[in-house]
Symmetry: C2
Subunit: 362 residues, 2 copies
């Protein structure tokens, strides 16, 4: 699975009258999320380095990724869910949950980069690649790959546990959302590699995986978690109605960026889905429609094949169909908010966010 690191930029054309105050509360909370992540990782590095200096490297594998400029999309949705549900901006509990979501995302990315053997992430070398290189340079014993992937996988566990520590205060309703989110993303990752290995080209299955790993994990569950923290479990359906289509649009944009973007823009390699036999909605539509695409997808090879695949996805109209599908999904997400019992300023903000999530370029 290619878990997302990218997120929306703030909309450039937000109406000043409605957006100024809310944006301030959100920005303040997001800055606090980043501060707490840095603080807990520094404290843990220091505590464990005092036990044995080697331990610092394990925490640093989490830190390098967590502080590499992710856009805090899941914390953003959690805080927006909380504020749109009328939660008190001064209360710290939504910030704790937002920290948990972002550290959990570090866990998912560290694991995912091993699953996909990704060389770069957020513009820097991935943890397993770095430690494989370190093993080779230092002439260590055993197999470099097992060592590097092992360290990255343990760093992922550490990020998961630190994330979970921030949920200590959650009440049952919110905790249930947190647990379900973690289970869903794990099955999403599993299906992603299982379906890739089988080479199944089933657009409906690809859609379902997109819902699981992006719709729920990135948008719906963080919003629902925020709403639960504000005592508004009645908003679960509203945020599902918004989060699932927008998450699907988010994942389809991701597939388009993977296929047509460049590494310089995204901070991660382009064409990785293709190289890893990942059956994104884009690719599975293509395989269904055109025999030349099917033949290429069965044996991905070098950059020449990737160029040819891009040409064919455009020529056959598959890329355009995905664009139209994204536009429809954005429309669906916006409609779900229209009459919902939300704080107006924050409803506006969530509505605007659909555009930057679905039409981002990295």
């Amino acid at each position: 699975m290619t878990v997302q690191t990218t997120s929306a930029a703030p909309p450039s054309s937000a109406p000043a009258a409605t957006a100024t105050a809310p944006d301030d509360a959100l920005s303040t909370a997001l800055a606090e999320v980043e501060r707490r992540i840095a603080a807990v990782l520094t404290a843990e590095r220091d505590r464990w380095a005092a036990v044995d200096p080697r331990c610092a490297a394990l925490v640093e594998a989490v830190t390098t990724l967590s502080l590499a400029g992710g856009k805090l999309l899941r914390p953003r949705f959690c805080l927006l869910g909380y504020l749109a549900a009328g939660g008190d901006p001064e209360c710290p509990k939504a910030v704790d949950a937002a920290v948990a979501l972002e550290l959990l995302h570090s866990f998912a990315l560290l694991r995912d980069d091993v699953l996909d053997d990704a060389p770069t992430r957020r513009g820097t070398v991935t943890a397993h690649e770095r430690h494989i290189g370190d093993h080779t340079e230092r002439g260590l014993r055993g197999e470099a790959r097992r060592y590097g992937e092992g360290i990255a996988n343990l760093a992922a566990d550490l990020a998961h546990i630190y994330a979970d520590r921030f949920t200590r205060g959650l009440e049952d309703e919110a905790r249930a959302v947190w647990d379900e989110l973690r289970i869903e993303v794990t099955f999403g990752q599993y299906l992603d590699i299982a379906v890739a290995a089988e080479g199944v080209a089933d657009p409906e299955l690809s859609r379902w995986i997109a819902v699981c790993k992006s719709g729920r994990y990135t948008i719906h569950r963080p919003l629902q978690l925020g709403a639960a923290l504000a005592g508004r479990t009645d908003l679960a359906d509203v945020f599902e109605g918004y989060g699932l289509p927008l998450g699907e649009a988010f994942q389809f944009r991701d597939d388009m960026i993977d296929a047509f973007g460049t590494s310089a823009d995204t901070g991660k390699p382009a064409g990785l889905d293709f190289a890893q036999f990942k059956m994104s909605y884009l690719l599975s539509l293509g395989v269904r429609r055109d025999d030349r695409i099917r033949a290429l997808a069965a044996h991905p090879a070098g950059p020449e094949q990737a160029d040819r695949m891009r040409e064919l996805l455009v020529e056959t109209g598959v890329a355009e169909d995905v664009e139209q599908r994204i536009a429809q999904l954005v429309e669906d997400a916006r409609k779900a908010l229209a009459d919902a019992p939300l704080v107006d300023n924050w409803r506006t903000r969530l509505t605007e966010l659909t555009t930057s999530v679905a039409y981002r370029d990295r």
Copy 2:
């Protein structure tokens, strides 16, 4: 790290007058732990198989290991800590925590078997090996190793999350123990592979890793968690004084079993530490003492070298020194309980348990 699956058999010579009633309460609770693990894994398999039949395999990777006859050592210590602290045997919260510990152990074993590339565990093929074989047999796309190890690692995550779900009701004191236990075992696993890769032969460091990954993870923290559930945080020091030496003895026995045991007895391969450059206390003492052992440890090869290693560990007196150290540690653990404010029947049970933990044969 070679995380333990084995545990103590019930003592055969427990005095009937003190042991009958307590053993019943413990046996009842342990049976309930097993029943709940089977129930949650069945429910989750059914729930996710309905989403997509492929999902069943991920849950089954957890089930196969969790129900393969582990001896429930961590649940046992958690329940004993709770009962010895005077906890109400009728209250279900200690059982929930015990379930969490056993599922967490499935997580640790699944992860560990990938880290160590172990072929068997609890007498059956490990999850990553099984899925590597499945990939090859079915002629799936991509690399069999990445696929098999990926599935085992995701199954580990799933076990971790299911474990954590059973801690929902924990109060802050108990939850803090749970979080610290998870962090410690992760650093224990990390140091184990870091030290193996460096080939460091430092008996003190090996001892510290044993404390971290067995003393705390297997004995001290489960006992402390049980005591916290009974509202007896005053027992933290007593259980540390008992758990750390006994855990060290447990790990040293494990090292001896790895070196001198047979796969038929243990359900996992013999000599894996040696093959994986693991610097157990046993091996690091040997490397310090004898140049022939040092030379062998630097380049582990086939069964002939393993036989020679065993001879040398005996001939140089290293194995005997480890036996004496185990005896001293058992003595230390027993002393820590002698005057502690515990329920007498359960103090006796914990005292007796030292023998079966330190002198088990698998």
